[in-house]
Symmetry: C2
Subunit: 493 residues, 2 copies
C-alpha cells in the first residue's frame, strides 16, 4: 500500500464560501495580499500562496475547518509561528493554511505535579516565563524559542542546546489533544509515566502535521537548577575538538549543553556579539554543567580534566551568570551572525555518531572546495547534531542550486556515517529527497501505511516529510553525484 500523491483541484470560490459559513470574518483570509505573509516559513527559498488562511479561535472551529476540508478534499497545512527551517509549514497551492496563532493561552501551571497545560500557539519561552515564579521551566529550548510555538515544537519534535541532558520535545510532553482530519478529537498520553496501548504520543510528536492537528499540549516542567557554569575550551585542531566531545561522554558526564563552533563560525559571531571567543582557535567547545553548587563544581572539575587531557589549548570557566550568558549569546546568535557576512546561507541539520565528528568535518572542508562555497559549522556536538551553514548568494544565477547540492551531499554523508538527515529541524519539503537515502522501501511503506491509517485521503500537509516510492525511484535514477555536478557547472557558467 502506498499513499497516492493526489492531484488536488480546488474550487477556490466554493471553498471560500464554505469557510465563510463556519468562521467569522476576522478568522479568515482569502485575498492574495493578506495571504502573502503565509507564503513561506523559515525556509524562505520555498514559497507558495495558499487559497485561504484560517485563524480559528476555538477547538470547535478547528473541527469545522477540518471537516469541511475533508468533505471538499482540500489540503490542510497547519502552522504555528512559521519559524520552521525545513518548509514544513509551506502552503499547498490548492489548500488552506490552518494557523493556530490564536490558541495562545496558558491554561494551567501545576507546581506540585510539575506540569503546564497550554494551547499550541503559546510561545516556547512563554511557558518557562509562566513557570518561573515556581522555580520551574520547560527544558527544550530551540534557538527560536522567543518566537516558536509549542504546537510547532510538537510537530517537529524540537530540541535545543539543552536536549542532550533534558531530551527532545517527545521526552517533555505528557499529553496532547489532537483533532483528526475527519474532525474527531482524541486525547493521548497521561500525567502518569506510561500509557497502555500503542505509543500514539510518540507517533504524533514529530509527525510534521501529517497525522492530525494538536489543540492542547501538557508539558513537563523541571526545576530551574540553582547554578549553571560553562567551560569554554579552545582547540588548534578541529578533529581534536571532535574527539574531546566523545571523551566527555565516554567519561560518563552528561553535560547540560555541549556545543562546538569552528573558526568560520566564531569569526562571524565575535565582532557581532563580543562573546569573548578565542579567535585563534580552529574550534571552540562550550560545555555547561548545572545543578547544586557542589554538583556543578564537581562536574566542571571533571570536564576540565578531560578537556585538558584531550589537548585543549585554553580553558575558561564562566565566573558569573553574566559571563555564562555571554558565552551562550554567541552560540545562539550564530545563525544571524553568519547572515551578516553572506547574502544568504543554507542551514543543514544532519546527525552523526559522535565518534565520527572529525571525519565529517574533514569531508565538509573538501566539499567547500568542490562546490566553491564557504561553510561555517555549528554543532550540538554532544548529540552529534550538526548545523553546517552553507554561505551563498541567491542573487547569483544558479548559486542556490549549488548550495542545495552541497547540503544534500552533507546529509547523504550523515546517513553513510550511520547518522540521519535531520536532528531537530524536520524533513518538511527541504529534505524529502534525502528520505530516499535514509530509508529503504519497507520503512517507507510502513510510514505510508501509518499515514493512511490517520488520513486516507492524504489531505494533511501533502508532499511533505515522507516521499512516495515513485518519487524515490525517480530520485535514485537522477541522483548520480558527478552527473549532478556537471549539470550545475553548465548552469553556472
Amino acid at each position: 500500500m502506498t499513499t497516492p500523491e493526489p492531484d488536488f483541484q480546488t474550487d477556490r470560490a466554493a471553498l471560500a464560501g464554505r469557510l465563510k459559513m463556519i468562521l467569522p470574518a476576522h478568522c479568515l483570509l482569502v485575498d492574495d495580499e493578506d495571504l502573502r505573509p503565509y507564503e513561506c516559513d523559515g525556509l524562505t527559498a520555498f514559497r507558495q500562496l495558499p487559497l485561504a488562511v484560517c485563524l480559528p479561535e476555538s477547538e470547535a472551529q478547528v473541527i469545522d475547518v477540518l471537516r469541511t476540508c475533508h468533505q471538499l478534499g482540500v489540503p490542510v497545512v497547519a502552522r504555528g509561528a512559521g519559524t520552521g527551517l525545513s518548509g514544513g509549514a509551506m502552503p499547498h497551492a490548492q489548500g488552506v493554511v490552518l494557523s493556530l496563532a490564536r490558541f495562545n493561552k496558558i491554561l494551567r501551571v501545576d507546581r506540585k505535579a510539575r506540569l503546564a497545560v497550554v494551547q499550541p500557539g503559546v510561545r516556547n519561552l512563554a511557558v518557562s516565563e509562566a513557570a518561573a515564579p515556581f522555580g520551574l521551566y520547560y527544558a527544550p529550548d530551540p534557538s527560536s524559542q522567543i518566537a516558536c510555538t509549542l504546537g510547532g515544537n510538537v510537530a517537529e519534535n524540537s530540541g535545543g542546546v539543552h536536549c542532550l541532558k533534558y531530551g527532545l520535545t517527545v521526552h517533555n510532553v505528557l499529553r496532547i489533544r489532537v483533532v483528526s482530519i475527519e474532525g474527531e478529537v482524541f486525547e493521548i498520553g497521561s500525567e502518569a509515566p506510561d500509557a497502555p496501548g500503542y505509543d500514539l504520543l510518540a507517533l504524533l510528536i514529530g509527525s510534521e502535521g501529517m497525522l492530525g492537528v494538536v489543540t492542547e499540549v501538557t508539558v513537563k516542567l523541571v526545576p530551574k537548577p540553582e547554578l549553571a557554569q560553562v567551560v569554554m575550551a579552545s582547540f588548534d585542531d578541529v578533529a581534536r575538538a571532535g574527539d574531546a566531545v566523545a571523551d566527555i561522554i565516554a567519561a560518563g558526564i552528561i553535560p547540560a549543553g555541549l556545543e562546538m563552533m569552528d573558526k568560520a563560525a566564531t569569526a562571524a559571531v565575535e565582532p557581532f556579539v563580543k562573546a569573548g571567543y578565542d579567535l585563534r582557535a580552529a574550534a571552540i567547545l562550550l560545555c555547561e554543567a548545572d545543578g547544586t553548587p557542589e554538583e556543578v563544581a564537581e562536574e566542571i572539575g571533571r570536564v576540565t580534566e578531560v578537556l585538558r587531557a584531550a589537548g585543549a589549548r585554553e580553558l575558561r570557566v564562566s565566573q558569573s551568570e553574566a559571563e555564562r550568558l555571554r558565552f551562550w549569546a554567541g552560540r545562539k546568535a550564530a545563525f544571524p551572525a553568519v547572515g551578516r557576512i553572506t547574502p544568504d546561507y543554507y542551514c543543514m541539520d544532519g546527525t552523526i555518531p559522535r565518534k565520527r565528528l572529525a571525519e565529517m568535518l574533514s569531508a565538509i572542508a573538501d566539499m567547500e572546495h568542490k562546490y566553491g562555497l564557504r561553510c561555517a559549522n555549528v554543532f550540538h556536538a554532544g548529540d552529534g547534531n550538526l548545523h553546517p551553514l552553507i554561505m551563498y548568494d541567491a542573487a547569483k544565477p544558479g548559486e542556490w542550486r549549488w548550495a542545495e547540492a552541497f547540503g544534500a551531499e552533507i546529509l547523504e554523508m550523515s546517513v553513510a556515517l550511520g547518522g540521519s538527515i535531520t536532528g531537530e529541524h524536520g524533513v518538511g519539503i527541504e529534505k524529502i529527497n534525502q528520505m530516499c537515502v535514509q530509508y529503504k522501501t519497507p520503512e517507507l511503506e510502513a510510514f505510508h501505511r501509518i499515514k493512511y491509517a490517520f488520513d486516507d485521503k492524504g489531505l494533511l500537509n501533502p508532499g511533505k516529510a515522507v516521499p512516495s516510492l515513485h518519487r524515490c525511484a525517480e530520485y535514485g535514477r537522477m541522483h548520480v553525484h558527478q552527473g549532478d555536478l556537471k549539470f550545475l557547472e553548465l548552469e553556472r557558467f
Copy 2:
C-alpha cells in the same frame, strides 16, 4: 474501521506439515506433552495450549514461519522468557508460539559509542554483565531481570526500580530490527539521537507483539555510577509516606530509585530476607542516590532533610554496598515473600499521579474489607506506579473471581485518579477489559487503524492488548459494580 475479531480455524495437520518443511526437527514442537511448558506466561491463571511451538535459530527461519502463518491465516504469539505478568505471551488455541529463546547472542558491545547490539532472546541481566568490564550497564531493571529477555522488554516497554531516573525501555533502545507478519524486514531507529519520519521505534516498543517480531535490539549503555547509597525512612502513617514522595520530587531531586512498601509487605519480606526493615512502621520508603561520592553525599543530605520535614520517624542510610544490596533485596523479593504467606496472589500494576498516592492507599484499604481479601502494597513510588498484591486462595471456589474484581476496581480507580491501568507489565489478556475504561472510542479506533496498517489479517497476538469496540460495548453493559458484587456473593456462599 475496526479490526475484526476473526474466528480462526486452523488445520493442525496441514500447519504441522508446512512448518516441518521450513524448520529442522529440533526447532519445532507439536506434541501436547512438549507444548505444555508454553501454555502460560507469568500470569498463570490463564492457560492455553498452542498447536505448535517454533524455535527458530535464524532470522531467515523467523521470516519463513511468519510468511507461512500469514499464508495459512494462522495466529502467531511471539514469546521471550515467558516471565510477563499480563498474559501477553499466552498462546492462541488455533495458533503458533514463536519462541525467540535461541536468539541468545550478544553481537557487539561498543564501549566508545556506549551501546550493545543483542538478539532478542538475550537475558536483561546478561547485557549488563557483558558491559561490566567497560564500567557500563543497561539501565532498565525489571524484577525479573535474571530471566526476562530484551525482546520481551521491548514488547512490554519494561521498567524497573531505576526507571524514575533512567527511563523505561523506550528511552534506552536506539534501534530494532523487525520482521512483519508478511515476512518483510525493516530497521527502525539509529545510533544518532533522533530519526526522521514517524517515530516507529516508540510505536513498536510496548506494542505487545501485535505489530511485528523483533530480531535484533540495539540498546544504550550507561556508566556504572561510582557510588550508590540508599536512605530507608519509616513512617507511622501511610498517607504521610505518600506525601513525602511528592515532596522529594517537588524539591527537584530525581533519585535513582524511590520505592515504598506498606506494613503488610514489609511483614511478609522481613522474616524471609532479613533486610533490616522497620516492622513497626506503617510504611517505609527506600530512596537511592547514585553518582560520584560528592554528588551522592549532597543528594543524600537533601533527601534526608526533606524526609525529616515530611515526618519520617526513623532514617537509616546504607553504610556499605552490602547493606545497600540488603535494603534492595527485600524490595526485590517482595513478590515471592508474599507468595510464601498466601496460597496465591494477584499482582496489579496501576499508575496514578504521585500526589494522589495517599488517597489510593486509603481506597485500597476500604476494598480489602469490601472483598474480604488482604492486600500488600509495593510501589515504584517515584513514578506513581503501584503494585498491590491481592492475596487469595485459588483452591477456594470463586475466590479468584473476587481477587479479579478487587484488581479491576483498583485499576478503574487508577484511571479515575488520572492515572493508567498499567505502568510496566502491559495489558495482555489480563487488563483488556480495563482498556475500555482507560480509552474512549476515538483512541481505540486509532489503535485499531494502526494494527490494521501492520497486520491487516489480525494474526499477531490476537485478542491481546487492544479490545474490540464490540467487546467494550459488552463490558460497559455488564459492568455495574454492585451487580458484579451480588453475583460474586451468590457464587461464594
